[in-house]
């Protein structure tokens, strides 16, 4: 038989003709005339056109037509049960929306590649490199076609009139050419601009910066802007989609590395310093080389260079010097390094919630299809293919899930905003502002669609297959008369309910652990006072203040703040606490052997002023604090904390000892203070040394300053006054953040807060879904057993015993779920122990609390239908059909 449409049609025509001829012959032999016989045969056959159509239908399964028909049918059916539709759509929207929101973040942070040429050929070199080392690696390596160096840093910028904060990225000459980024206006930085030092003060603006701060001025090329008070000429504008090689910080402009002394806040040149690693390097592999070859090659080159002994950073352990390569296509990201694992954790959580929602809907579908059982049985017996029916039921599920997914996108947009609010406003060593470009784009929509379809198949397939099992005998029985409870097909529902409870327990345990962890972090004793402290950060040096001017300015400002009503004390520090930023150096005791490990001989440093000890709560335990006599002309002094004293002077008195610190000799230790945290709440207690800002000239460092005001009550009302005061002294001075230290602490705990809040929310949601699922299963089971209940009661059973009979069923399911859930939780919680603070992954209280809550909710979910069952009138029950 031919396979083409025309071939088949022709074939059937022949068959039909031969059939009709035979039939006509028969009649002719019975005595009819030829014409009569043919006519009778044709009439006996019936509508031959319709038959031909039917046959054609069998061969050309009209997928699209049938699919559309199924869709319309499903829509009609769903409209008839609005409560089911509402519950299903809502659970799906929440589940798919949550998954989409988190995926958007993951995409923006982990998956998205830079908009450059052939990003897969790029490798990120781990670590920070000095400028001389970068130059030598460029010249001598054998494995990279080109290496580019860059580093971003915050600067003060005057574009038209006002002074603003901006992010400048220092780049090597081959940066733009290697990445393949063409200018939108003018030209980009090239190799000529990169040598010699300070000779080419040129800048390329980012598209966004050009639009927002320069009003998209078409003749911007050639204009002069001032970066940290130094004039730079604008040579071009970058294309709209390019914002540098760092993921979460958008570069506003690019300048040559050789301009570093002007662009860095300290004003000190690091261009020839082999001991200062500050550049990040990206390399494009030579064609034909893979990552392993590039990795091996660059390490060989590094060790060769190090052996020549000219680089301070590579004096020790040359044979173990390493450079690890990472895929460069996704750019540099501090946020990714800190945040990647919690994001995956959250993805797992919302995937579980979606799974629970799917199980709920599957259960609901099973219940619904039981009602349609007779319809399905009739259709099956009439010869409808089982596959066709399953297809129709699946179409219904898919229509539901895709509709839920579309609604979920709306949820995702809203959820994404909430997630982004958890991110810190600044991150990294130099407090770069966080500006993550996370939005719903085509990739995210594709993800949402795929998840919707997968979800639809997941919750729709089992019920569809089950309800179309061609059990004709069962359909003949009247369902309500089954005296024995629990027909085989209902096990699916119970199984799903038990599964839901187990997963819900898992999520509740997780939520319990994370919330306790968060609470511990908040309540941890960090050795600093955080309530009622206002902090404001600024950097006079970047606006041109000399050291003496800055000192004066600070003194004036502190005095003015002290006179504010409600202010108990004012203090200042160079590095703001709890922001992740650190400053430090080597602590060398003359006469003692030098520890080999750099970490063992280093200490953190903060230069402080004002009434530091009273305002921030760190106490002087022994010795003395800073006095006015410790000024610029006096001998250098320092105060160290207890951990430092124990580490560097075990068993001896530290006070009075003279050490070499930050390149300054004979620094006298004048006091020992209490331990406190420095950069984050959850770090292990660091060793800290404090010097006084009055001796700023001796201990060189950046010009940033943070002022702390301790107030009697809520410090927030003082914020506008503080701003005003600073502006009255210097109207052009840009301020960084003005916030309370309590808020800063909160911000520093952003990961813990995000995980805690979201796991709590989704734990609660999963509990609700599991309860609904359980309730549904119980209600259905009771409706099946109504006759049985009626019989029992009419035989004299007490209402209470009926209640217990039904409730026992429910409790068994809850117990089953818990029995599965607990070992699962124990096993899986070990995976997240790195996210926990102050609590172990096996904390019994957390498990008990979660189990208790789940048991209570489960019992309640079962109690309601059980109670209703016990109130059934036996006569009504017996008559139930």
């Amino acid at each position: 038989m031919s396979d083409t449409r025309d071939g088949r049609d022709g074939d059937f025509e022949r068959e039909l003709k031969s059939h009709l001829d035979l039939e006509a012959e028969e009649r002719q032999s019975g005595g009819a005339s030829s014409a009569e016989a043919h006519f009778a045969a044709l009439r006996a056959f019936g509508n031959s056109a319709a038959v031909a159509e039917d046959v054609r239908c069998i061969w050309h399964a009209r997928w699209i037509e049938q699919f559309l028909h199924d869709l319309r049918f499903s829509a009609r059916l769903l409209r008839k049960s609005p409560s089911f539709l509402a519950v299903a759509l809502l659970s799906l929207a929440l589940g798919i929306g949550a998954n989409t929101a988190i995926f958007t973040l993951i995409d923006a942070l982990v998956l998205r590649t830079l908009p450059v040429d052939h990003p897969r050929e790029l490798e990120r070199l781990e670590g920070y490199f000095s400028n001389p080392m970068y130059r030598e690696l460029c010249e001598r390596n054998q494995v990279f076609a080109s290496l580019i160096a860059s580093q971003a840093t915050p600067v003060s910028l005057v574009a038209i009139h006002e002074t603003d904060r901006a992010v400048a990225e220092l780049v090597s000459g081959n940066y733009f050419s290697t990445l393949g980024v063409q200018p939108f206006l003018g030209r980009v930085i090239s190799d000529e601009d990169d040598a010699p030092a300070l000779s080419h003060p040129v800048a390329v603006l980012s598209y966004r910066f050009w639009q927002q701060r320069l009003g998209a001025d078409p003749v911007v090329v050639g204009k002069v802007i001032r970066i940290n008070n130094y004039p730079f000429t604008v040579i071009g504008v970058a294309p709209a989609n390019f914002s540098g090689v760092a993921v979460e910080s958008r570069s506003d402009l690019w300048v040559p590395i050789m301009m570093q002394p002007q662009v860095f806040e300290t004003g000190i040149s690091t261009l020839d310093d082999t001991g200062n690693g500050w550049l990040r390097i990206l390399g494009r592999r030579k064609p034909g080389l893979d990552e392993a070859a590039a990795q091996a090659g660059i390490v060989v080159t590094l060790r060769q260079i190090a052996k020549e002994g000219r680089h301070k950073l590579y004096r020790n352990n040359i044979d173990r010097a390493q450079i690890h390569l990472f895929p460069g296509a996704v750019g540099f990201s501090q946020l990714r390094e800190e945040f990647e694992r919690p994001l995956y954790l959250l993805m797992a959580v919302v995937a579980l919630v979606l799974l629970i929602a799917c199980m709920n809907i599957a259960n609901l579908l099973v219940a619904r299809s039981a009602v349609r059982r007779r319809e399905i049985a009739v259709r099956l017996s009439l010869g409808a293919g089982r596959f066709r029916l399953v297809r129709q039921l699946l179409t219904e599920s898919l229509a539901l899930s895709v509709a839920g997914g579309a609604l979920g996108i709306a949820f995702a947009v809203w959820g994404l905003q909430i997630l982004l609010r958890f991110l810190p406003s600044r991150i990294g060593q130099n407090l770069m502002p966080v500006a993550l470009d996370a939005h719903i784009d085509a990739r995210v929509l594709l993800f949402a669609l795929s998840v919707s379809i997968l979800t639809g198949v997941l919750f729709g397939l089992a019920p569809a297959l089950q309800s179309t099992r061609a059990d004709l005998t069962v359909s003949l029985k009247d369902e309500g008369t089954a005296l024995v409870s629990g027909p085989r097909r209902f096990q699916l529902g119970r199984f799903l309910a038990v599964g839901q409870i187990a997963m819900s327990l898992l999520l509740l345990v997780g939520a319990s652990l994370f919330l306790r962890s968060l609470q511990n972090a908040y309540n941890a004793d960090i050795g600093l006072r955080t309530e009622n402290i206002l902090m404001v950060s600024l950097n006079p040096e970047l606006s041109g203040y000399s050291a003496a001017q800055e000192s004066d300015f600070m003194r004036q400002l502190l005095a003015r703040f002290e006179s504010f009503p409600g202010v108990l004390g004012v203090a200042a520090s160079q590095v703001p606490f709890l922001t992740g930023e650190e400053d430090g150096g080597g602590f060398i005791i003359p006469g003692k052997p030098l520890p080999a490990d750099y970490h063992d001989r280093s200490i953190l440093l903060n230069r402080v002023g004002g009434d530091f000890w009273n305002v921030l709560g760190t106490r002087i335990i022994r010795g003395r604090g800073f006095l006015p006599q410790d000024n610029a002309t006096a001998p250098p002094v320092a105060i160290i904390n207890e951990s430092a004293a124990k580490h560097f002077f075990p068993g001896e008195e530290a006070i009075g000892r003279k050490v070499r610190f930050r390149g300054v000799d004979k620094v006298e230790v004048i006091g020992i203070c209490s331990d406190s945290k420095y950069a984050s709440v959850i770090e292990s207690t660091p060793r800290i040394a404090y010097t006084t800002l009055d001796q700023n000239n001796l201990f060189l460092g950046s010009g940033e300053r943070t002022i702390y005001l301790r107030t009697t009550g809520d410090p927030r009302p003082l914020m506008p006054l503080v701003r005003q005061e600073i502006r009255s002294l210097d109207s052009a001075l840009p301020l960084y953040d003005v916030k309370t230290l309590a808020d800063q602490k909160s911000e520093s705990l952003f990961q813990e807060r995000m995980i805690g809040a979201l796991s709590g929310f989704f734990g609660g949601l999963s509990l609700l879904l599991a309860a609904i699922g359980l309730y549904g299963v119980m209600a259905y089971s009771i409706s099946r057993r109504t006759r049985e209940i009626g019989v029992r009661m009419s035989l004299g059973a007490e209402r209470a015993s009926v209640l217990w009979l039904v409730l026992r069923d429910c409790l068994l399911m809850v117990a089953g779920g818990i029995a599965i859930g607990i070992p699962l939780s124990v096993w899986l919680s070990r995976l997240v122990s790195s996210q926990l603070f102050g609590i172990s992954a096996g904390d019994p209280f957390a498990f008990l609390a979660a189990t208790f809550v789940l048991a209570c909710v489960g019992a309640a979910a079962g109690a309601i239908p059980s109670y209703r069952a016990s109130r059934v009138d036996p006569l009504v029950a017996l008559r139930y059909e």
């Binding site: 038989m1 059939h19 010869g383």
Partner: protein, 118 residues
């Protein structure tokens, strides 16, 4: 040739489609046949009780071919020197027939028991 008498409509049993498939398969067990012959065979063997609507025969035949339970081929009939499309049972079809047969027997027995219990 005798005139073919037909019973009244009331006596004509309606044939469910699934059962028709089974009857076709059974008919082909004894040998290949074309569509017309199958109809006649069923009618004759059931003593004119079962009348196959021609409108349902051919869709049923094509459906069975699609499922792979029977195969079709145009052949020259020995008696008439004319081409007909002959249908044959396939091995899978044979198995399917056995399955349907036992299901049918079960159902018939069950109904019989209900009807005959006093």
């Amino acid at each position: 040739m005798t005139t073919i008498t037909r019973k009244t409509d009331a006596d004509r049993a309606e044939l469910l489609q699934g059962t028709l498939d089974m009857l076709i398969l059974r008919t082909l067990l004894t040998g290949a046949a074309h569509g017309h012959a199958i109809t006649k065979h069923i009618q004759r063997t059931s003593d004119e009780v079962l009348q196959v609507e021609h409108g349902s025969l051919y869709p049923a035949l094509h459906r069975l071919v699609k499922r792979g339970w029977i195969s079709a081929k145009w052949e020259v009939s020995k008696e008439r020197n004319r081409e007909f499309k002959y249908y044959r049972l396939t091995p899978t079809g044979r198995k399917q027939l056995a399955r349907e047969r036992s299901k049918w027997a079960q159902m018939a027995a069950a109904i019989h028991r209900v009807m005959e219990i006093a």
